[in-house]
Amino acid sequence: MNLSDSKKKLALAGVLCGLVAACLAYFGNPANMAFCIACFIRDTAGALGFHQAEVVQYARPEIIGLVIGAFIISVATKEYRSTAGSSPMIRFILGMVIMIGSLIFLGCPLRMVIRMSAGDLNAWVALIGFVLGVGTGAFALKKGFSLGRAHETNKENGAVLPVLMLGILILATCSTLLKASEAGPGSLHAPIIMSLIGGLIFGALAQKSRMCFAGGIRDAILMKNFDLLTIIAGLFVVMLIFNLATGRFVLGFNTPGIIAHSNHLWNILGMYAVGFAAVLAGGCPLRQLILAGQGSSDSAVTVLGMFFAAALCHNFGLASSGTAMNAETGELVAGAVTPNGKVACIICIIACFIIAFTNKREQAK
């Protein structure tokens, strides 16, 4: 069945992805974090010992499944193309920006939509920043921004990241080398096999439908085309129904226990950096994993940048904290953005502007 030749089928792909996310949330993934690329990469980086934040260490099978799912479906449908060479180090920096911005907001664009569907008004505020960031990126594209073209490489080159992901899966299931949280968000997860299958299905659907949160808004801005947004709408509706049906829909700003904060300015600026960098890199965090799975080494480098920055975020105290309830006193402790995180966010936005307006098509040929 072709899931991409009409808007209805694209919406169906979004619905199926929403069902996967809902199942994972129901069977144990953290509340409001059913399927977050940034959080899950951060958890996996922790499992590998890149950072020592004990509450966010777990090799998330969803990330592994996404890459391998995209790899398998692209090979099966002859869309696998091993390419590389489009300004890899700039893409590494963009991957870092995407991760730092995400961990200041506390979620990638996918989780932003999932949080929106659960009534978290902070995510709706952050959406403003994300749209503005994508808009700035689209403006840069109109002004001739380019990282240069990618070239075909040996087909083995594009398979490196999927193989590395397979290696992490083997380590996670057959050894005790990886770290695993005993408390906190990292300890909350669906059964491994369910997470892996969910990731594989999500990855395959995302590859066939070209799902991209930044691309959806970019296409709407540049071409008034809403195909990609149709997929996201499908996912949003399913998650909204799931949250309403299971009593997880809580409308408000300072909701404890959902790993979110109400620093509006920094929610906006964090997602502004993510939207901006995602357009420059050619896709949101989810899309980068999918492109890496279907053979793009440039996207694989962006993913490595995300892994690297995830570790930095926790080693240097850049990641924000979520609003929580003090178990002893019963008081609400507001989540916050750290001073280091604020500085990093500003640096990320400046870096995006420098990249966007110094890399021109004429010089990238």
Binding site: S4, G148, R149, Q207, S209, M223, L228, G282, G283, R361
Partner: protein, 78 residues
């Protein structure tokens, strides 16, 4: 709903190339519009130029004029 027709779809190596194509086509009055790369012909989420089939030579000349190299030229239902 708009009926699908067989059209010329030109894909590019970079998004910037597609943007440059749009700019030049508008400048010289060449036919067509920018669309997302159709899912039936490519795995990219980039942009492409869509125009009537008979514009192939005209558009090739436009691209040659500004030193733009297409990735592929397809004929598909859009």
């Amino acid at each position: 709903m708009r009926k699908k027709e067989l059209k010329l779809v030109i894909t590019f190596h970079t998004t910037a190339d597609a943007m440059a194509m749009e700019k030049e086509c508008k400048k010289v009055g060449a036919q067509g519009r920018m669309i997302p790369v159709p899912r039936s012909i490519s795995a990219g989420c980039g942009l492409s130029w869509c125009a009537p089939l008979e514009c192939r030579e005209e558009l090739k000349n436009v691209m040659q004029g500004i030193g733009l190299e297409e990735e592929e030229i397809h004929e598909c239902m859009v």
